[in-house]
């Protein structure tokens, strides 16, 4: 059985290789992306073009993207709904706990920075949100699930609220685009504060959308991790 697989895959990869060789390795930019590069800063005010594309030109993709994480988190809450927690109950040794207590704020600050400075430097809503979610994973592993459920800001009940708030923030900005007579999710022509590119408070709705998707990603992934780690 294995040899048929190897044969099939060898044939498939040969066909793929032969037919994909003709794709020209382009030297100059494609028409659409040359527009992004030439007038991206002027249209959106954000100097990080990838973020400008993600949160302004193709903002609808990012809304769909945040919904994928929301659906996955909802699926986990549906499938792992019983509350019995067996693993990771008491966390690691006190030395690790005190060490974690010292540098966990720095991880949190770094995550917030990556979200907030998304439209200027590399990074953005997704990367910052996952950094904060990995902080919540660290807290669960180091302090154990009992601590996480009761007291911290990352407890699952609060996370599902944060997720919905992030979603409504995203839809709210989209609807302000409609209410001001423009299209859904339109940025500078919907009257958001443009500011000078390169500064922290610039590029209209892009920083707010970064915060919204950062909240959704952080809350969603911490719910996913809590459900998998806590399940029976």
């Amino acid at each position: 059985m294995k040899y048929y697989c190897v044969l099939l895959i060898a044939v498939l990869s040969l066909v793929l290789f032969l037919s994909l060789q003709d794709i020209p390795v382009a030297q100059d930019l494609m028409p659409a992306s040359s527009h992004y590069v030439n007038s991206g800063v002027r249209d959106t005010g954000a100097t990080n073009l990838v973020n400008a594309i993600l949160f302004d030109y193709r903002g609808f993709d990012t809304l769909g993207e945040a919904t994928v994480i929301f659906a996955s988190a909802a699926a986990f809450k549906m499938l792992f709904s019983h509350k019995r927690i067996f693993s990771f109950r008491y966390g690691l040794s006190p030395i690790v706990k005190t060490g974690m207590g010292i540098y966990s704020p720095f991880i949190f600050i770094f995550g917030i920075y990556v979200i907030m400075a998304g439209h200027i430097s590399p990074g953005g809503g997704f990367q910052g949100g996952v950094i904060i979610a990995s902080l919540s994973i660290l807290l669960t592993l180091v302090y154990g699930l009992w601590y996480k459920v009761r007291r911290t800001v990352f407890s699952p009940a609060i996370s599902s609220n944060i997720e919905s708030i992030g979603g409504f923030l995203f839809l709210g900005i989209g609807l302000t685009g409609i209410l001001t007579g423009n299209y859904f999710l339109s940025n500078l022509d919907a009257g958001f504060f443009a500011g000078t590119p390169g500064h922290m408070f610039s590029a209209g709705s892009i920083p707010i959308l970064n915060i919204a998707s950062g909240l959704k990603v952080a809350a969603g992934l911490s719910i996913i991790f809590y459900s998998i780690a806590g399940g029976e």
Partner: protein, 111 residues
């Protein structure tokens, strides 16, 4: 940059082999995430321009890399992560019912 296509197709066939030929469910999920890695590499490597600068406008660049494949890859990475997470969740639940992860045994137990 010329031979990236060879590596992409080799990695994709390794991932496809992992999905098709391996019996363990976790090995299949690893195969899928390797295949997706190959597709991300394909997207970004065909967006690269010879000695271009990263797509952050600082005013000093002469040539800039194509930002659109990077935006697509970023979205695809997060989609791949959440699908992998869902698959791992279902694998844990399957293990609780069947106490095994081998597809042959699962088919035998299912009867």
């Amino acid at each position: 940059m010329k031979f990236t296509l060879v590596f992409i197709i080799v990695i994709m066939s390794i991932g496809l082999y992992g999905v098709l030929a391996k019996d363990n469910l976790i090995k299949k999920v690893i195969g899928i995430s390797i295949m997706e890695g190959a597709v991300f590499l394909f997207l970004v490597s065909y967006g690269y321009r010879q000695d271009g600068a990263p797509p952050i406008i600082t005013g000093y660049e002469t040539r800039i890399v194509d930002p659109v494949p990077q935006a697509l890859t970023l979205t695809a990475i997060v989609i791949g992560a959440s699908t992998t997470a869902l698959m791992l969740g279902i694998i844990i639940k399957i293990f609780n019912n069947y106490k095994t992860l081998e597809t042959k045994e699962i088919r035998r137990l299912r009867g």
